[in-house]
């Protein structure tokens, strides 16, 4: 082995690096979905938002030469898709889950259609910060090259945790999600609160998408997302609608996803596809352990269509 110097340490290092890299889109989508769900609505369309975000970020970054403008464009695209979801759900007798599935298909389809000319060109990519400069082990340096969006996400999680408790908007979002009657009795428009929460959720999911096309894997193609958007929605459920737990859940998920490639890099190839399925096995295992037919989920916003 060329990297014989650190031997099997390659695996945990690769998992760490992978956890940071792979978890970033999960983190943004799950934080966004966390905000939306706390307001009492589920947006399953975030998979479509993610792919649209990736496409628009890549396009704008290519056209303007600035990846950060690409990120902004992705956020705005996401917010618009969020507004579309919330707008449709504001109509009477509309089910948010069904609208979400429709928008998931709509978003991916639209992104593939508009993104056709973007498959060839190369757009400027997002920077990363080298936290491993002090080391001369290449694997460690690779693992510690941390992208800026991840850092923003890591800061955002505790900020959201704080905001849900101590800001006016946080309290209003929770009220709308826990008891729309109470919110209405106080004279607030539940639909407006949910519209804004869904738009912010879409904004963050769009940024999550920009990471896919502008950092890792770092190009635009139709196989870019392998269901991260929809997985992140599940992440929110077993993070119990807590932004800090969303961070840990995203990291665990990213680490599990990095397991297959990491093992392959040290020559364990026999169960490659099995190890690649690790995140989904993890999802199933956590679901089985934490769910019970006899009790409702703790922490679930009472107004969510799945808990009501």
């Amino acid at each position: 082995m060329a990297d014989g110097s650190i031997g099997l340490w390659t695996v945990p290092l690769a998992v760490l690096g992978g956890a940071i890299r792979v978890s970033t889109p999960f983190l943004f989508v799950s934080l966004g979905e966390c905000i939306t769900e706390r307001s009492g609505r589920i947006n399953l369309g975030l998979e479509g938002t993610l792919v649209m975000g990736a496409m628009s970020a890549y396009g704008i970054s290519y056209l303007t030469g600035s990846p950060w403008l690409g990120v902004l464009a992705a956020g705005i695209t996401g917010a618009l898709l969020g507004a579309l979801h919330a707008g449709i759900c504001s109509l009477p007798r509309v089910n948010d889950v069904a609208v979400g599935i429709a928008l998931m298909l709509f978003g991916t389809g639209l992104a593939f259609y508009l993104g056709k000319p973007l498959i060839e060109p190369t757009a400027p990519r997002l920077p990363a910060i080298d936290f491993g400069w002090w080391s001369d082990i290449p694997q460690l340096r690779a693992a510690l090259r941390v992208n800026v969006l991840f850092l923003i996400g890591v800061v955002l999680a505790p900020i959201l945790y704080w905001a849900f408790r101590t800001t006016r908007w946080g309290l209003l979002i929770r009220t709308a999600g826990e008891s729309s009657d109470a919110a209405r009795a106080m004279g607030h428009s539940v639909l407006l609160i949910r519209l804004r929460a869904t738009m912010v959720g879409g904004f963050l999911a769009g940024i999550g998408g920009s990471f896919l096309s502008l950092f890792y894997p770092g190009s635009w193609n139709e196989g870019l997302s392998s269901g991260q958007g929809i997985t992140a929605v599940a992440l929110v459920i077993f993070a119990r609608w807590d932004p800090l737990l969303c961070l840990w859940a995203s990291l665990a998920f990213g680490g599990a996803a990095a397991l297959g490639p990491a093992l392959q890099s040290v020559g364990v190839t026999s169960g490659y596809h099995l190890f690649n399925a690790a995140p989904y096995i993890l999802t199933l295992a956590i679901m089985i352990v934490t769910c019970s037919p006899k009790r409702t989920l703790t922490g679930a916003p009472a107004e969510l269509s799945i808990t009501r």
Partner: protein
Amino acid sequence: MIIGEPPPLVGAFGVDAIAMTMRFGDFLALDNVELKVRPGSFHALLGENGAGKSTLVKCIMGYYHATEGDILVGGREQAIANPKDAHALGLGMVYQHFTLVPAMTVAENLVLARDDVPAVVNWPKEMRELEAFLARMPFKVPLSAKVSDISAGERQKCEILKQLYLKRRFLILDEPTSVLTPAEADEVLGMLRDMVVKGELTILMITHKFREVMAFADEVTILRRGKLAGAGKVSELTPDAMARTMIGAEELTVQPPRTGEAGEARLELAKVRALDDAGAIAVHDVSLTVRAGEIVGIAGVSGNGQRQLVEVLAGQREAEGGEIRVAGDPYHASREEMRRHRMSLLPEEPLKNACVGGMSVADNIAFREFDRAPFASGGWWLNRSAFRDDATKKIGQYKIKTRTPDTPISALSGGNVQRAVLARELAGDVEVLIAANPCFGLDFAAVAQIHAEIMAARNRGAAVLLVSEDLDELLELSDRLVVMFHGEFVYEARTSEADLTEVGRHMAGH
């Protein structure tokens, strides 16, 4: 600490509603109604369900805009376009259903209710101010506790405190004591009464409990079918006179006298244990025997495990432990067992727990027997005309007010939904009857009819388990009374020998 807009008036003020008429399409909900609440008085608003009480107060609070009529606040005419306008004038309403957010703390709920919630809440400062506010208030609530963790009585106090915290000085209370023990109700109303006497507050209370009207109200206004039926000083009225004014000439079903003695054991619970939705123990190893020809009443403030116990008996929830026997046989709430033992169920919220809202009245009435002759041949071919004939017969017999047997049951009023369930459950012979809050929110006529049916079932030899939050109902109907608190039976007595203060004390867990 000034919160919200300062009310325009100092001290208690009165509200007058003059010549109020409210039309919903063809339906006349209020017909030229007048209500005068004097400043610094405790005013009771009486009336049956559907008499227009809620419509009237919603017009005052700006939820509805009256078709005709004026609202005078403190003697000045005011156009109240929405609840915010009403709040700005110092009017506040405490709803029958709680408007607190259960997953939040008491402090969060109070701060959130303000019109001027700061963008970033400075919790240490807010907590100091809330504690200073509470120190001036007659009742205390735990500020840092989650609302879902405090008792119904404390929640009701929170609702009232919230209005006072918001500087509202004209309070409308919509059946404020329906979830409280008699002692808690007296405490809360007594404290409000003190504030009224001091001239700090004016209260308009919607209620149907004459005891509370007699004990706490100065004046009363009585509505019947959208019209003003009477008004006056409470000191000059008797409960009977008020009841007659409320009901009008309508005849109530006469309850049959209690006859016969209790027979053999029919329904036996041995150490039954059940969990609530959050996985906590809600029913804690309770044991009870109900004998034939006997009504056993389970009293208790809501949320002490009664619902879970009834759900276990109805088959809606699995017991965690213990044994249930009906007529000596083990019972697991299967349809076959219920049929064999002639069990009937009147669960609370019948539209949700005993009916399919979108299906017709006839279908709902046939649920127990729909796959048997004469409703079905061979167990699968349904005979629609049999459904119709049976429903038509029962609609007449149980006085169910529905346009046709094919009307969806969700279109019926609460009393008529309960009558339809009654028709289904009590039509045949009944050996075991389980009823939970069967009269909640129903008018006099429906209550009288349901009480009469339950008593008649008992006299015919049924074992009746009656779970109710209405102590008066239990005292009237049951032979034996059990008090449930925190999932356990903490008190048992023959109803004739039960001591009301003792019962109340156990309901509150002392």
